[in-house]
């Protein structure tokens, strides 16, 4: 009487189910748009048009996606160890220091390709250190990382306000931000990547850190699935008892994983600081750390899933901005609602349709298996 058990084909698991979730999210979002008396179809076409319709739109979409790849990878790495790092926001924020300090210090006498590696290292180190403390508390004291990383988001926020207002703000300036970097503190744009397709990214800050994000996605895949450390992390994540049995040192793995996660979140800071603003501004992370959670959930913690999920959220950000510009009746908050719905259906309710789909495919499989048998005997 219980639901027949069957393993889903990979294309269903990784393709169909996310698509269904997405479709439902957009359906409900459409109802919301309808409720304020606007045309969901127009909104949808604006969303797509805004995100994909022209070079600059694509540039922005990929710029946002870059942020989400970093933070999504950060959350995914921790997931593999059974840890829920929701401190990506704070880790990225503080890691801004690791980017901005080398830039401010070196931009007068070093070219960008010298500053960039230093900034990568700096952001990773600062991000890792910021995650180290919750990791250490979890490993040694059993303080849950969910709680401590949230707390550290707040600490990061206050700390950065202090740093920006009291330390890094140029004298005489009214804005809580650092000075603009010289040319060498700015990452090259990737217009050459899209120009072969006849696309012009225009003013979009689509920059080199996108390629770094792709490289990190590959690195994460290698580390998690192809190294001894990754093996230990996955063992811990799947079964702490099996890890103890195998002699894997729990504390060490938790701390290392949290640091890796923090480093990835930290690298996100490169994109807005070196790639877009060319200075550090207040709250430059802008929620990307939290979007990373949804991206990791939707991407099933696998880099190959995280990249498309990150691009989807890039579409929502860029296309959403377009909608609120073209349809003033749909406010910026409305866009947030739509993004929230996608997170809800694709992330939090990821398993809502799974039982039904599993049953459907199992029944299908059973029927197919039963058919060829002759009725005789």
């Amino acid at each position: 009487m219980s639901a027949p058990y069957a393993k889903l084909p990979a294309w269903v698991d990784y393709g169909l189910i996310p698509l269904i979730n997405l479709a439902v999210a957009f359906l409900v979002a459409g109802l919301v748009v309808l409720a304020v008396g606007q045309s969901p179809l127009r909104a949808a076409s604006l969303l797509i048009e805004g995100a994909f319709g022209y070079g600059e739109g694509i540039g922005f979409t990929l710029y946002y996606a870059t942020n989400f790849i970093f933070t999504g990878l950060a959350v995914a790495v921790a997931f593999h160890c059974g840890l829920f790092n929701i401190g990506g926001e704070g880790q990225a924020y503080v890691a801004g220091l690791g980017v901005v300090l080398p830039c401010l210090w070196l931009d007068q006498f070093a070219p960008w390709y010298v500053i960039f590696p230093v900034a990568i290292l700096g952001s990773a180190l600062v991000g890792a250190s910021w995650a180290l403390i919750p990791g250490w508390l979890q490993a040694k004291r059993g303080s849950h990382v969910v709680i401590t990383t949230i707390m550290f988001n707040f600490i990061a926020s206050s700390l950065m306000v202090y740093v920006l207002v009291d330390v890094l703000k140029p004298a005489g300036s009214m804005a809580p931000q650092t000075r603009k970097f010289a040319e060498s503190g700015q990452l090259p744009r990737l217009d050459w990547l899209l120009s072969p397709f006849g696309l012009d990214i225009g003013g979009a800050p689509f920059n080199l850190s996108f390629l770094l994000a792709l490289v990190m996605a590959f690195v994460v895949w290698v580390v998690i699935w192809r190294t001894r450390l990754g093996y230990e992390i996955r063992t811990m994540g799947h079964s702490p008892t099996a890890a103890a049995y195998a002699g894997i040192r729990e504390h060490r793995i938790i701390i290392i994983t949290m640091m890796m996660s923090g480093a990835l979140a930290g690298m996100m800071a490169l994109n807005p600081i070196m790639g877009d603003q060319h200075s550090m501004q207040l709250d430059f992370v802008g929620g990307a750390g939290f979007v990373g959670i949804a991206v990791a959930l939707m991407g099933r913690s696998h880099p190959a899933g995280i990249i498309p999920a990150a691009i989807l959220f890039g579409v929502l950000y860029q296309g959403g901005a377009e909608i609120s510009f073209e349809m003033p009746e749909i406010s910026r908050d409305m866009i947030t609602i739509i993004q929230g719905l996608v997170i809800l259906f694709a992330g939090a309710l990821e398993n809502m349709f799974r039982p039904a789909i599993t049953t459907f495919f199992a029944t299908l499989g059973a029927a197919r298996a039963a058919r060829p048998q002759p009725a005789a005997e």
Partner: protein, 511 residues
């Protein structure tokens, strides 16, 4: 008094491949204490969970007071007058006794009136059944014995006429247990019916009127307690089956490879689970530890394999000490020649979501032959896994298949292959054939004997007495955290069974 309080007819329940209850028939007379006895995993708890509505039987009927009753959930069970005292108490630790008792039956949203009523009713119950507890005491400040009394009060407060107690003495001291039995007598005198689930024979003999024995999901017998004996029950419980034929020559024990001295292990609740245990293992012998599950075997295994920290004790592996009280870890012990086939292969011995080859290196993933620097040498790992699959006839022979998709027997072979192929000096094996199909059992037994004949020291822990007797060269019996005796494997099942049940002077009891 011949009225039946509960009658079960043809109760059948499966969990996937496990047939937990096979066509169970049981009738419990009103106003009696009815014991249900059987080894762990015999299906007692499943049966009681069905009666209390936690599970639904796949087929079969339940009659309460002669009326056919469908018990969908615990609420319907309570409405039918059935109360349950769980092995692990279901109390809100930081609530008072009174609050716990009235939880879920508060009558109204405003508590004041309900509290007064509950207090009065509680007083009456305490009086009637000599169940004194301070109604305003906080649960977590009460000793375990009193917490259990609160559980009983809770059931009575809900109007229970039939009370199920699941392993009630597991957490009690002997004095507390005696007190509990007096309470049960009192309840019986008031006309309540009691179902007592236990695996301790002595308790059955002490308090029950009738006793039913379960074995491997079946109800094998019901006896009147006064007309049966501990021996008969032990025999029924363990099941007197022919020894599995295991071809085994005499052992030729050599030097001591592993020794344990005065080992004491405490669990997370602070209860000593292993008490002052000492033994040694010699090269070329199999030492079996017999005992009813839950008498400290698991903790013993975990302590000597570096998974759980011991409180005190000295353990030597090939003459060199193991820091069992400190930072001995399983990886280090493996490097020193100690292999471990854990009792719980699904949670400990394997990561079910890994593929077969990944599990074939669990615990040995530090070995340079599986690595290229910091990277896993996937090719070497798969090749190695394929060789083990071939040698141990693991099916399906696919190192890339997810481990959860192998059968229990094949999963166990994955673990055995991994541990045995390392050529360890000492092999610690827990429950080698639990949940394993008959074909694989024979194979596994053969491999264990081969390890012995190759000069390894083997420690075998199993709740299957047959297995212990047919494989071991010496048998140690564990009860309540202690080794209560050493016997030769030829010793009668009855005698071993009594030792396992904690009857200390076996010869005296047998007379």
């Amino acid at each position: 008094m011949s009225e039946t309080a509960i009658e079960l007819k043809g109760i059948d329940k499966r969990f996937g491949l496990v047939h937990a209850n096979k066509n169970i028939n049981l009738s419990v007379r009103k106003g009696t204490i009815h014991g249900i006895i059987g080894e762990n995993g015999a299906g007692k708890s499943t049966l009681m969970s069905i009666l209390y509505g936690f599970y639904q039987a796949d087929s079969g009927d339940i009659f309460v007071d002669g009326k056919k009753t469908v018990i969908r959930d615990p609420n319907t069970a309570i409405a039918a007058g059935i109360g349950m005292v769980h092995q692990h108490f279901m109390l809100v630790e930081n609530f008072t006794v009174l609050e716990n008792v009235m939880l879920g039956v508060e009558d109204s949203q405003i508590l004041t009136a309900g509290i007064a009523k509950a207090r009065q009713e509680l007083k009456r119950l305490e009086h009637e059944y000599e169940l004194e507890v301070d109604p305003d005491a906080i649960i977590e400040e009460l000793p375990v014995g009193l917490q259990q009394r609160v559980e009983i009060l809770k059931a009575l407060y809900r109007g229970a006429e039939i009370l199920i107690l699941d392993e009630p003495t597991g957490v009690l001291t002997p004095a507390e247990a005696d007190h509990l039995f007096r309470i049960l007598e009192q309840l019986k005198a008031q006309g309540k019916t009691i179902l007592l689930i236990t695996h301790k024979l002595r308790e059955i003999m002490a308090v029950t009127d009738e006793v039913s024995v379960m074995r491997r999901g079946e109800m094998v017998a019901t006896r009147t307690t006064a007309e049966t004996s501990v021996e008969e029950l032990a025999e029924l419980m363990v099941g007197r089956r022919v020894l599995l034929r295991v071809d085994k020559g005499p052992a030729s024990p050599g030097e001591v490879l592993f020794s344990v001295e005065n080992l004491t292990v405490r669990d997370s609740r602070g209860v000593d689970m292993v008490k002052d245990v000492s033994f040694e293992l010699r090269a070329g012998e199999i030492v079996g530890i017999a005992g009813v599950a839950g008498n400290g075997q698991s903790e013993l295994l975990q302590a000597i394999t570096g998974i759980r920290r011991a409180v005190r004790g000295k353990v030597l592996l090939q003459g060199e000490p193991i820091h069992v009280t400190g930072k001995a870890d399983a990886a280090e012990l493996r490097q020193r020649g100690l292999a471990h086939v854990p009792e719980d292969r699904q949670h400990m011995g394997l990561v079910l979501k890994f593929d077969e080859s990944e599990n074939s290196i669990l615990g040995y993933h530090w070995d340079p032959k599986y690595l290229n620097g910091v990277f896993l040498n996937i090719e070497a790992i798969r090749k190695d896994a394929a060789a083990k699959i071939e040698k141990y006839d693991i099916r399906p022979p696919n190192p890339r298949l997810k481990t959860a998709n192998f059968s229990g027997g094949n999963q166990q072979k994955i673990v055995l292959a991994r541990e045995m192929e390392r050529d360890p000096a000492v092999l610690i094996i827990g429950q080698p054939t639990r949940g394993v199909d008959v074909g694989a059992i024979e194979f596994i037994h053969k491999r264990i004997i081969e390890m012995r004949d190759a000069g390894k020291a083997v420690l075998l822990v199993s709740v299957e007495l047959d297995e212990i007797r047919s494989l071991s060269d010496r048998v140690l019996v564990m009860f309540d955290g202690r080794i209560v005796g050493e016997r030769s494997p030829e010793t009668g099942e009855g005698e071993l069974g009594l030792l396992m049940a904690g009857v200390e002077d076996v010869r005296e009891a047998a007379e």
